[in-house]
Subunit: 246 residues, 4 copies
């Protein structure tokens, strides 16, 4: 099995390296990842300028672009063969609830799924994870299950792993995305030259973090596995909209 | 009614100006838009640096950030009052099918909806539209309908208007998102210094462009109105995934 | 006479517009300027990606690059004719002493001079100038003098104009560059997510601001005109270095 | 002796690593360098946003900024002690003649000199150097000479080393900067979406590459050592300018 591994923290991130090392026990692995931290890039694709992938070492490409750029390049012609499966991560920091909308980690997996490959996005709940090996083992386990039970088109797995030693991790459970409270308001400040600046505020806490959500799962020590999709049509309201357009 | 208007082509784009002018007949309008073209930005939010919104003229802010940044800033504290409705566009160029995943136009509307406001994303099918007035009239019409028939949470409208004179536009119809073929492969080239570069290829044609899709609607001269959502949980496969995780 | 006008504050800056309007009385004028604020860009040239100049209105190009890029593009093929003279400015804020090393305003003029054209860089001492017309009149006056008295190769004029009404401006005097004290130390801070950030400190006050310097001239209400050069060889120490290398 | 080592190719460049390793024989060494290739950055300083230096490994900082940013941060507060000497390089590719105006390698050294430290910029003539060790030995030799024979204020050394084995390198000679022909014209092209783009053309060949220049020295296999300065006042024309301003 040929794995394409990417992320949004950059090719030097410990998370992507531990993941690649673990997956090598299952097949061949190529990392194609941003040349620097591109967290929060969402699905953005770089169309206005060319990209310059660099082969840093055998099996490791660094790209001056977004996570989606990396996976797109890799599958659409950079690599000699189309890979069998895309894994994005291990992100340093959770991607729960609405985070998935902004997440470059999820975007890299989405790009792979959009191009027809099975895909997994995986995040550790810690910003400085201590137990990446345990999270990598979780991915290896999931890969086997996913290959045996393919998901429908436009559907992938978003996995969050509590940063715990393997023997303290509870079981993997299927979850739905919760919801965060809106971020705190924007932060007004001044730069050292006295000019006004604004920062986007920190992300909010879980608002819908109840039973069945990804928030609840990781809070209880479980590995959260959320099937997510990017068929964005809201089929359920189609009739109503048709009616009020008429 | 207070409108927040944004886009991804930048605050100087004719599309956003024509839209704002038209909506002023319905209420007060503030433009908060990127200071330059940010097409393809998707939902990316700028967290790594502060933003510097500039009041260019009364009611027009330019922000050195993404479309999502603009709407986030506007609602979370830049403007004195939270607006009543967010309209993003009029984009120069269609946003059909998978385009919505990458679109900054849709992202600006999504950010508004995520923060609780009704939201519309609107695109003209032409890259150099000749009939922006007609498209703006469509938006004005839709605003009234949307206010009277609120959509569920996490749901907004993605509207594509053929670039035709008002009297040649066919009716508004509710559509589902179609699908594009994958883009053509990456384009290898060399820069003037002889170094290899890669471009992301052009977007593919409609693959699922049949009956009921947004592609089919605009091809037939209709205004396509797609209810889209960003609850990304794939509820339909939850039981299956639970089963194979067990 | 054909003027090429550029700056580093961007093509929308009042300074560049007032300058262009004034120079139109002397000949034809084309603005080729950055599409946004590129202050502090120094002489950087964009080699890693292509540029996309946009004709915003007749005679006004906006470029997604640095001030040096703008002048380079304009002279090396964007414009139908090579211009006769390059004027960069009117910058909002002084460019005195060591500022010239970092200044995009000076860099645009340097690029023009490097490509063989006479060149003037001009700055108003105010960040929000009130008397741009007076500064533009100074430039118009200097243009005539410069054309009649060409400077040696690799030499141009760096002009700083106090932000005063024309009738309060004292005479133009030739000055040498003074020196600033080093900027205040770097400013440590934290972003809203608690991560450490560092700002470059504000520029220092004049350290060598005495008799004959540009600092002293503008402080006294004079227009400072400094002949600057970019032959960077330190000829005076060549023998000493030869000696200690032997 | 405490060395600060920087460059413009990024902290991962072999050139900067070989240089740091060699200088460790002479004292303690800290690398503070860009997190990616910033060639052509000239003296630009990042004032519009904060910087995020990351300690990659003991003694190695990567900065999301320009070469000048790196040296400025290092000296103005990032490092516990102000270093004794700044060495920038070993650049992959020559910095000859007018190159110094645009060079980030030279800019890093200039920033150090501007803040009062002796400084050396060093480049290998090859884009993929095979003999970095020989070039590093040259630097180690020069360091001793420079410390014994300090240069005047605002003066530093720009060194270009032919990419040859140590035993084939000819002597170090003091040179003046030559001049390049202007670059070839801009290159018009189209991106894969059919939109017009422009590339800055490749640098020109040596125009003044005669006796005594840096071009001539390296062509003959010598190590070129050019004393360069950034007192940009053109003192020699001051009287003339005073006269025609009067």
């Amino acid at each position: 099995m040929n794995f394409l591994v990417s992320n949004d923290d950059g090719y030097l991130s410990p998370g992507v390296r531990v993941l690649a090392t673990r997956l090598k026990r299952l097949g061949s692995v190529t990392i194609v990842a941003p040349d620097r931290d591109r967290s929060g890039a969402s699905n953005s694709l770089t169309l206005s300028r060319p990209l310059r992938p660099r082969l840093i070492e055998p099996g490791v490409w660094a790209v001056d672009g977004t996570p989606s750029d990396c996976v797109h390049l890799a599958i659409q012609g950079l690599l000699p063969e189309v890979p069998d499966l895309v894994v994005s991560g291990i992100n340093h920091g959770a991607n729960l609830g609405d985070d998935v909308l902004y997440s470059g980690t999820v975007a890299a997996a989405t790009e792979g799924r959009s191009l027809g490959l099975p895909a997994i996005a995986v995040s550790s709940t810690a910003h400085v994870p201590q137990h990446l090996d345990a999270a990598a083992d979780v991915v290896a386990d999931l890969v086997g299950r996913l290959v045996n039970h393919p998901l429908p088109a436009l559907t992938l797995l978003n996995v969050n792993v509590p940063d715990l030693p393997a023997d303290q991790l509870k079981s993997m459970i299927a979850t739905r995305l919760g919801r965060r409270h809106p971020s705190s308001g924007i932060v007004r400040d001044a730069d050292p030259r006295g000019r006004e600046i604004f920062w986007i505020g920190a992300a909010g806490e879980g608002a819908d973090a109840g039973e069945g959500t990804d928030f609840a799962a990781v809070a209880a020590g479980h590995v959260s596995v959320t099937p997510i999709q990017f068929d964005m049509t809201r089929h359920g309201v189609m009739d109503a909209v048709s009616h009020w357009l008429a």
